[in-house]
């Protein structure tokens, strides 16, 4: 059994290493796009792979351009929805041009067959923004890489948990023991979140109401993070918009289900403080509430973006060495780069779990803080704590002397 586990671990390590070598951005980073300059490597390859875009990079099999949906206002002031299959077709057949330089009203647009063809050849249209030739874009609903990736994560989570829920409905896991690797693994994690995250942080029986959200957040983040470690995929959580929406959901739950006590303390300050202290404390409390949730979004985003940037920088080092010092230095740095990359990938696997845990734990903490109700009647709470103490003493006695009960 142990040898089997070890061989699986070795295979996984090898796969991780091969994955690093095969992942887009390493071996093919400098292929064909005229990116063999320092700026090209840093801007287009390293940052281009870590950030969002309107294309899905499947090098060496090519690049898939994703559909563009633009809600635009025409020059006459009418709202239209422009839908095109790709950025290329948007530029070719729509009233759009490529922004080459400048901002605001003074930007220069690239239009016309010849100049666009030139831009397509250098893949410039994938890395720069587009603008309407007449009128302006109100809202860009274009499908992006991270949208596709978060959708894949969503499908995986839904698929796994709908099948497991059907099993529990049949009674496997409730009346009989859970069967199979998947069900056992997921049950461990679900029970962990229920007992270690939801119950201790949320007062009383209220955790039941928020457990579904916490589980959804945990598994979505976990799957999205782990997708970031697979070649040809990326982490949807390395996008501030995705993590921002999740933090906004936690914030909204905290506001919607917030108890009267929480709002009272938030808007009028601590109950037994003098008035001038309250005047100082109320803005601090409100800013603190917003900042907590902002930090929740930025923590997850920065961790995931940082991880992928480190990996691409380590791999990009090979190509930077090639440009700066020549081929021999590049070959020499390959060994070091790949070794470090495997190490960082393993760290990222740990970070994927830790960040999912941290997001869920902090969400539970924030929700728990806002739904918490204080006992107003001092006397009542005193007797309650006394009763609590007595029951605890009973429990201790029972442990010490089981026969006495």
């Amino acid at each position: 059994m142990i040898t089997r586990i070890r061989s699986v671990a070795v295979a996984a390590l090898l796969l991780l290493g091969v994955g690093a070598a095969l992942s887009p951005g390493s071996a093919y980073a400098a292929g064909g796009d005229g990116e063999m300059t320092l700026e090209g490597i840093v801007n287009n390859t390293i940052i281009g792979h870590a950030t969002d875009g309107n294309y899905y990079n499947l090098k060496p099999f090519g690049t898939v351009e994703l559909p563009r949906l633009m809600l635009a206002r025409t020059a006459e002031g009418r709202l239209t929805l422009d839908v095109y299959g790709s950025t290329k077709s948007l530029l070719k057949s729509g009233p759009y041009g490529l922004v080459t330089h400048g901002e605001g009203k003074h930007k220069a647009l690239t239009t016309g067959e010849e100049r666009l063809k030139e831009a397509f050849a250098t893949k410039k249209h994938l890395h720069s923004s587009v603008a309407r030739t007449s009128g302006h874009v109100v809202m860009d609903f274009s499908i992006t890489k991270h949208f596709v990736l978060s959708f894949i994560a969503l499908l995986i989570v839904t698929g796994v948990f709908v099948t497991l829920a059907q099993r529990y409905e049949k009674g496997i896991g409730r009346t009989k023991a859970p069967r199979g690797i998947l069900q056992n693994m997921m049950e461990v994690m679900v029970v962990f979140i229920r007992d270690e995250i939801a119950k201790p942080n949320i007062q009383g029986d209220k955790w039941k109401k928020f457990l579904p959200y916490l589980l959804t957040a945990f598994f979505f983040i976990l799957v999205a993070n782990i997708l970031g470690l697979i070649p040809f995929f990326g982490a949807a959580t390395s996008n501030i918009a995705v993590t921002g929406v999740m933090a906004v959901m936690t914030f909204a739950i905290g506001l919607l289900y917030g108890s009267k006590d929480h709002y009272l303390e938030l808007l009028t300050g601590p109950p037994d403080a003098p008035v001038f202290v309250r005047i100082i404390l109320v803005p601090i409390e409100i800013i603190g509430l917003v900042m907590r949730h902002l930090a929740l979004a930025i923590r997850l985003f920065a961790n995931m973006l940082g991880g992928s940037l480190i990996i691409f920088s380590l791999l990009g080092l090979i190509f930077i060495m090639n440009v700066v010092f020549g081929a021999t230095a590049a070959w020499a740095s390959t060994v070091i780069s790949i070794g470090f990359t495997v190490f960082i990938l393993l760290v990222k696997l740990l970070v994927a779990f830790i960040q999912a845990y941290v997001f869920t734990a902090l969400s539970a903490l924030f929700i728990g803080m806002s739904v918490e109700e204080h006992h107003h009647d001092g006397h009542e709470s005193e007797t309650a704590s006394k009763g609590d103490l007595e029951s605890r003493l009973d429990a201790v006695e029972e442990v010490v002397e089981p026969t006495s009960a």
Binding site: A302, A361, L365
Partner: protein, 76 residues
């Protein structure tokens, strides 16, 4: 010096200083939680959970700084 050069310099220095701060913070956190776990091995599980959450909070502050450094590099 050029504005861009100054921005890159600031980003590099800022990232380094943020790393120092986060390192000191997490170092203290780890040392005291290990001490706590050694004194009271029964509470090691609780201490570990609390340590991860507080490490994440400290790290969050450092990551704020890191994001600002990244913005300096990318936007200039």
């Amino acid at each position: 010096m050029e504005a861009a050069a100054l921005a890159y310099l600031a980003a590099g220095l800022g990232a380094g200083i943020a790393a120092i701060g986060a390192g000191i913070g997490i170092g203290w956190l780890a040392s005291s939680s290990m001490e706590g776990a050694a004194r009271q091995p029964d509470a090691a599980g609780d201490i570990r959970g609390l340590m991860i959450v507080s490490a994440a909070l400290i790290e969050g502050v450092a990551l704020f700084a890191l994001i600002i450094c990244l913005l300096l590099v990318v936007l200039v």
